[in-house]
């Protein structure tokens, strides 16, 4: 199946936008250019009506499908708050493809999401990456499972566990719970090694510890929810102590610790900023964070934390950042190629380049303009008016 998209402005995200064409073959981008050369046996031609062709946006921190909108307690599977450490749970196992937000997000151009567990637990659970599909079958959507381990600092674990009168009730406690988790994992590794050395079968499999081992071995990053400067610094301290890969989620007080973040080389996912200051730790929230992150040249993504801020309008949050001086092209990258890099899927997603997946949206105007909409995407085809 070969499809030619003509009459579009192609926003590749890795080079300057150009007027031209894109050729897709079996779901993969084959060629891009002013006039594609490979014009034989084209099965379908799509007239882009001078629209803007962009990669599907990537929302690298979302609870879509895990906390389905408007469904209440019965469908909310975000936080397994039965224990402060639940690295043995996976967001994939709580995901519902029937969430009405999934087609809505696609309308807003969001075609890829990383679905994380919530922030009630210092160690929350494993996340996965999905792409938009019309089929209500998670198998069709899955890009990568167990791609990161969610952790949380700050207010939320304190609030949840002080109600339960369990550790942590302070930031000190949260740090201690996380450090203990990794020390326990090191003990677990030793135990396994010992069994192997003695030639005995290992009979104490522990899925909590297996997740920790993946982080310690740098197979997956720790995805640490931090709003406040002190929480970000604690996360960096833990990263250094255990030599692990890390992504800072939310990073609300980014500007206060921008030098430390740059020095530590940690990517961040900024957002949601377009929401209320619903708790104390959000007091110093500001759209300026995006501009500063672009000026500093760090790797970051603009994220929704859906349903806290709806994924469908993620693009408007990026647009608002431009109101605060952020560069427009830079903000587009924060919705595409940069989160793709953070998630480690930039070999297939995040830009319009030959060889990458044809995960595309066609816009009738710039996505940062609230009046614009997607008129076509690579999953649904042309959308009804």
């Amino acid at each position: 199946m070969r499809t030619l998209i003509t009459n579009v402005v192609v926003h590749t995200m890795t080079s300057e936008p150009f007027k031209g064409e894109v050729l897709i073959e079996d779901g993969v981008i084959r060629e891009t250019g002013y006039k594609v050369k490979n014009r034989e046996t084209i099965d379908e031609t799509i007239d882009g009506k001078r629209g803007l062709l962009m990669p599907g946006f990537i929302d690298a921190h979302s609870h879509i499908g895990l906390n389905p909108d408007g469904q209440g307690y019965e469908y909310d599977d975000t936080n397994e708050y039965s224990d402060p450490v639940t690295s043995n749970v996976r967001s994939l196992d709580g995901f519902s493809p029937s969430d009405i937000s999934i087609p809505e997000a696609a309308k807003g151009g969001v075609m890829v999401y990383c679905v994380l567990t919530g922030s009630a637990n210092p160690v929350g659970g494993l996340s996965f990456i999905a792409k938009y599909s019309k089929k209500k079958n998670v198998k069709e959507m899955l890009i990568r499972e167990d791609n990161g381990l969610k952790m949380a600092t700050g207010e939320n674990p304190k609030r949840v566990y002080s109600e339960q009168k369990k550790m942590p009730v302070t930031r000190m406690g949260t740090a201690a719970v996380i450090r203990k988790f990794f020390f326990d994992a090191k003990n677990y590794i030793e135990k396994k090694k010992k069994a192997e050395k003695e030639g005995k079968p290992f009979t104490e499999h522990d899925s909590k510890m297996e997740a920790a081992v993946m982080v310690l071995n740098k197979q997956i990053p720790a995805r640490v929810h931090c709003h406040r400067a002190e929480d970000i610094l604690t996360a960096i301290r833990i990263k250094k102590e255990f030599d692990i890969d890390m992504v800072i989620e939310h990073c609300t007080e980014y500007i206060k610790v921008k030098d430390e973040i740059k020095e530590a080389g940690i990517p961040i996912l900024l957002g949601p900023i377009m929401s209320s200051r619903s708790k104390v730790e959000l007091r110093d929230m500001t759209f300026n964070s995006y501009r500063v992150a672009l000026e500093e040249g760090i790797l970051f993504g603009c994220m929704s934390d859906h349903p806290v801020f709806p994924s469908e309008v993620l693009r408007l949050q990026a647009g608002m950042a431009c109101n605060y001086g952020a560069d427009e092209a830079g903000m587009l990258k924060s919705l595409t190629i940069m989160p793709a890099k953070i998630l480690g899927i930039d070999d297939e997603y995040g830009s319009i380049e030959e060889g990458k997946k044809a995960n595309l949206c066609l816009w009738n105007g710039h996505p940062f303009d609230a009046r614009s909409k997607t008129i076509w995407n690579s999953v649904d085809g042309f959308l009804e008016e």
Partner: protein
């Protein structure tokens, strides 16, 4: 950078005051004598002014208490989820942008030791910070594990009778401490031991690598602590020591370090009913060495530190010891007297310049230097407190 302070009344604290010059180079005091002829990049004519070492607060909760908002969500002082939380660190709970730090620098306090609170018989590990607000939090840390906080008396009873009824009486507080020490000793004896953060922290105390600082107000609580520590062959330091004057001879005979204060609070709980401003003077006369005064900020604000010394002096403490009690004595108490606490050559250039003598409550801080840099200038910033 070098700086010459000229013609000040210099109070080295470790020796008699004199009129002379002080030379700072590369963050250290390189000379301090009647007349210095060396050239410096900058100089201050301090004629008529007084020059002291920066004050040291040995016991406060600045940053960990969360004064900026004063919300429960920002208070990280007490990890009250369990009576024994030896593994938590104040380091991970401090909010580096809390307003108390600025208040402290305007008061002339250049080093702050921050402890966890007193809800738990074993509360966690303290941290010592240089109060240099121009550098990042991590660079302010001069002792990552500065002391092991323990608590006797009313607070553990109150906290843990409410939370899960783990402690109802002083007897149970002692039992918790004794079992925690025993458990750590057993852990140490094990041939194969998976790393246990809590036991490791307690073992440092038992092996004399980390000093225990015991919150105790009443004389009976002090004596109880001495009895338990005798059992394990180690020596405690005391915090608050409110009824120290009732057992001054015992404390002197055993050469115990005592931090006294806060000296002016309401008698808001039973155990401070016999609080008196005479305690420091009585301890001195009995022969207790290195008496330290503390504010326990925010229990009373940090700007009371020199006023406490003045009031203790008025009530019987010698002038020399009053000055020492907020400078070199806390340095000795924290094991940092090789680096800070007096105006001696090769020490860190943590210095204050005042209009009048420090023990005069109208002294007014004109400059605070931390590591040889001006950290506060009244001329530039106005009065902070």
């Amino acid at each position: 950078m070098s700086m010459l302070i000229k013609n000040a009344t210099i109070h080295p604290v470790t020796s008699k005051e004199f009129v002379g010059d002080l030379l700072i180079d590369n963050g250290k005091i390189v000379d301090c004598s009647h007349k210095i002829y060396a050239e410096a990049e900058e100089s201050i004519d301090a004629t008529g002014l007084h020059c002291y070492p920066g004050m040291i607060e040995e016991h406060c909760h600045i940053g960990i208490h969360g004064e900026k908002t004063n919300q429960v969500s920002d208070n990280d002082t007490n990890e009250w989820s369990d009576p024994i939380t030896a593994q938590v660190r104040a380091l991970d709970g401090v909010k580096p942008f809390d307003p108390g730090f600025k208040e402290a620098i305007g008061t002339g306090v250049t080093t702050l030791n921050i402890y966890p609170g007193s809800a738990n018989p074993m509360g966690g590990i303290g941290v010592t910070l240089k109060n240099d607000l121009t550098v990042t939090y991590e660079k302010r840390i001069i002792k990552e594990e500065s002391g092991f906080k323990m608590a006797m008396g009313e607070n553990p009873k109150r906290a843990h009778s409410e939370n899960g009824k783990k402690i109802i009486t002083r007897m149970a507080t002692v039992e918790k401490i004794r079992s925690a020490f025993r458990k750590a000793l057993d852990y140490d004896k094990k041939e194969e031991k998976p790393y246990d953060m809590q036991c490791e922290a307690i073992l440092k105390v038992l092996k004399g690598e980390l000093q225990a600082h015991v919150h105790a107000h009443q004389a009976d609580d002090i004596m109880t602590a001495l009895r338990i520590f005798d059992e394990f062959g180690i020596k405690p330091s005391f915090e608050h020591t409110t009824e120290g004057h009732l057992i001054a001879d015992e404390l002197a005979k055993r050469d115990i370090k005592c931090a006294v204060g806060p000296l002016f609070t309401a008698r808001y709980k039973m155990e401070i009913n016999r609080r008196t401003l005479k305690t420091p003077g009585i301890l001195e006369k009995a022969g207790v060495k290195d008496i330290t005064l503390i504010t326990d900020h925010p229990v009373i604000p940090i700007n009371n530190l020199p006023i406490e010394a003045a009031m203790a002096c008025k009530n019987g403490l010698s002038k020399e010891e009053a000055l020492r009690s907020i400078t070199i004595n806390p340095a000795i108490n924290l094991g940092l007297d090789d680096r800070i606490g007096s105006l001696d050559i090769d020490k860190d250039a943590d210095i204050i310049l005042t209009e009048r003598e420090l023990l005069d409550p109208t002294h007014r801080i004109l400059y605070t230097f931390v590591n040889g840099k001006i950290a506060y200038s009244m001329k530039e910033e106005g009065l902070i407190i």
